[in-house]
């Protein structure tokens, strides 16, 4: 049987112009890896937005996924939470398993 290791999957939905800030934050925190996925439409407390609605991408939302070692979640999450406090978007955390422990 393949041995798997428990990690945490953090998924953030944020505004595209903040991408640079999150990346800088991840750099600062030495987050090993992450992936950014586009979103096309959404609704939340601040109402509706859609990716094709703004020519400049200013109102575009993106999904940032990062698989983290559980030991680091607390620290990283608190920083992300602080950054997001006054901003539009959500953060969720879930359990995932991976094969290559050392990769994350």
């Amino acid at each position: 049987m393949i041995k798997t290791h428990l990690k945490k999957r953090i998924e953030m939905i944020i505004e595209a112009p903040l991408e640079i800030n999150i990346i800088d934050l991840f750099d600062e925190l030495s987050v090993k890896g992450y992936t950014i996925i586009p979103a096309i439409f959404g609704r939340g407390q601040e109402g509706v937005w859609r990716g094709d609605g703004l020519i400049s991408g200013a109102g575009q939302m993106i999904v940032i996924v990062s698989i983290l070692d559980p030991a680091r979640v607390e620290e990283i999450l608190s920083r992300l939470y602080e950054f997001m406090k006054n901003r539009i978007g959500i953060i969720t955390i879930s359990d995932v398993e991976v094969i290559r422990d050392e990769h994350f």
């Binding site: 903040l18 937005w49 859609r50 703004l54 020519i55 400049s56 006054n86």
Partner: protein, 325 residues
């Protein structure tokens, strides 16, 4: 003059450019699935700014740099800085929106809309009216100051605490649309008439057709805005969205008196003053004032003021400008 204005308005609202905008609004209000993919819309937007910038630069290369260029740019910067203050106090009277939203909206009206400028340029071409090439540079200059005074209003009149703005200045000055406009202006200047001839089959000849396609998309976006967010604003805000452009033109006419521009140039400065941003400023506001509601400022700028300018505003500004000459 009234007659002439009526004719101009009629000619303008039956031009393909405006009709495609109307088609877009209609289609999205009826929930058609017509959609111009975002990547395509951005390509069209970049094309328009590149073409406008390049032509402006090439025009300056022929006429040479003049004192009027400098004075025009300075006047426009001041205009952009002052307008939000007027907008702020006016809107505060008219509407019951929270102060932070009023500040955000104000910044939009000090800044400008390149697509409105494109439509005005097209209308002048239609009428065979000349204009100064450097007006394009004025457009670039008018993008920023409004943001700064808008933010100042927000910080002074509301409880907004200064957040780490997440690279706001970079976002403002290096905003993609400004980089393309200013960069293409500079390249057009360097390349001159000769350079323009070479790229004309791409940047000049198809311009009007591309503008039609782009306005179809603008119409779709504006229509969707009404549908999704129409309830965000009321009749008072709509009224402001149509009144403010005229006030801006009034203010601009004070400046324009001293600038000795051609009738076409004057009409374009009026158009810039009257237009409200929906690219650079919304981007800046989302970063700097995340609690100001995009549904309010976007609906006002894109849903009210843009169509107003596009249909009857531009003919009005041209008429006034011609009576100035």
């Amino acid at each position: 003059m009234m007659d002439q204005l009526l004719i101009l308005v009629l000619e303008n609202i039956t031009s393909p450019v405006v009709l495609f905008f109307v088609l877009g609004v209609g289609a999205s209000m009826l929930r058609s699935d017509l959609e111009i993919p975002q990547a395509a819309a951005r390509l069209l937007a970049i094309y328009l700014m590149l073409a406008i910038g390049f032509k402006g630069g090439a025009a300056v290369a022929t006429t040479g740099i003049e004192l009027r260029l400098i004075t025009t740019l300075i006047s426009c910067a001041i205009l952009s800085f002052v307008t939000p203050v007027i907008a702020y106090f006016l809107l505060q009277r008219i509407s019951k929106l929270p102060a932070i939203d009023i500040a955000a909206v104000s910044a939009h009206y000090g800044s400008i809309s390149v697509v409105t400028l494109a439509a005005a340029i097209q209308a002048l071409a239609q009428l065979g009216i000349e204009y100064e090439g450097y007006i394009v540079a004025a457009a670039a200059v008018m993008e920023f100051p409004a943001i700064i005074s808008g933010l100042w209003l927000a910080h002074h009149y509301t409880e907004v605490k200064r957040t780490s703005n997440g690279g706001l200045l970079r976002h403002v000055f290096l905003n993609g649309s400004i980089v393309v406009l200013v960069g293409a202006f500079a390249i057009g200047w360097i390349s001159g008439e000769k350079g323009l001839t070479e790229v004309a089959p791409f940047l000049v000849d198809p311009f009007k057709g591309v503008l039609c396609l782009f306005l179809l998309d603008m119409g779709l976006v504006a229509g969707r805005g009404f549908r999704d967010q129409g309830q965000a604003i009321g009749p008072r805000e709509i009224g402001f969205g149509m009144l403010m452009p005229l006030i801006s033109v009034g203010l601009a006419s004070v400046f324009v008196m001293f600038l000795e521009l051609s009738a076409g140039g004057t009409a374009l400065i009026f158009t810039l003053a009257a237009s409200a941003s929906y690219i650079a400023v919304p981007a800046a506001m989302r970063l700097a004032l995340p609690h100001a509601k995009p549904s309010i400022y976007l609906t006002m700028s894109l849903g009210v003021t843009f169509p107003f300018n596009l249909t009857i505003g531009i003919p009005i500004y041209i008429t006034i400008a011609m009576s100035f000459g």
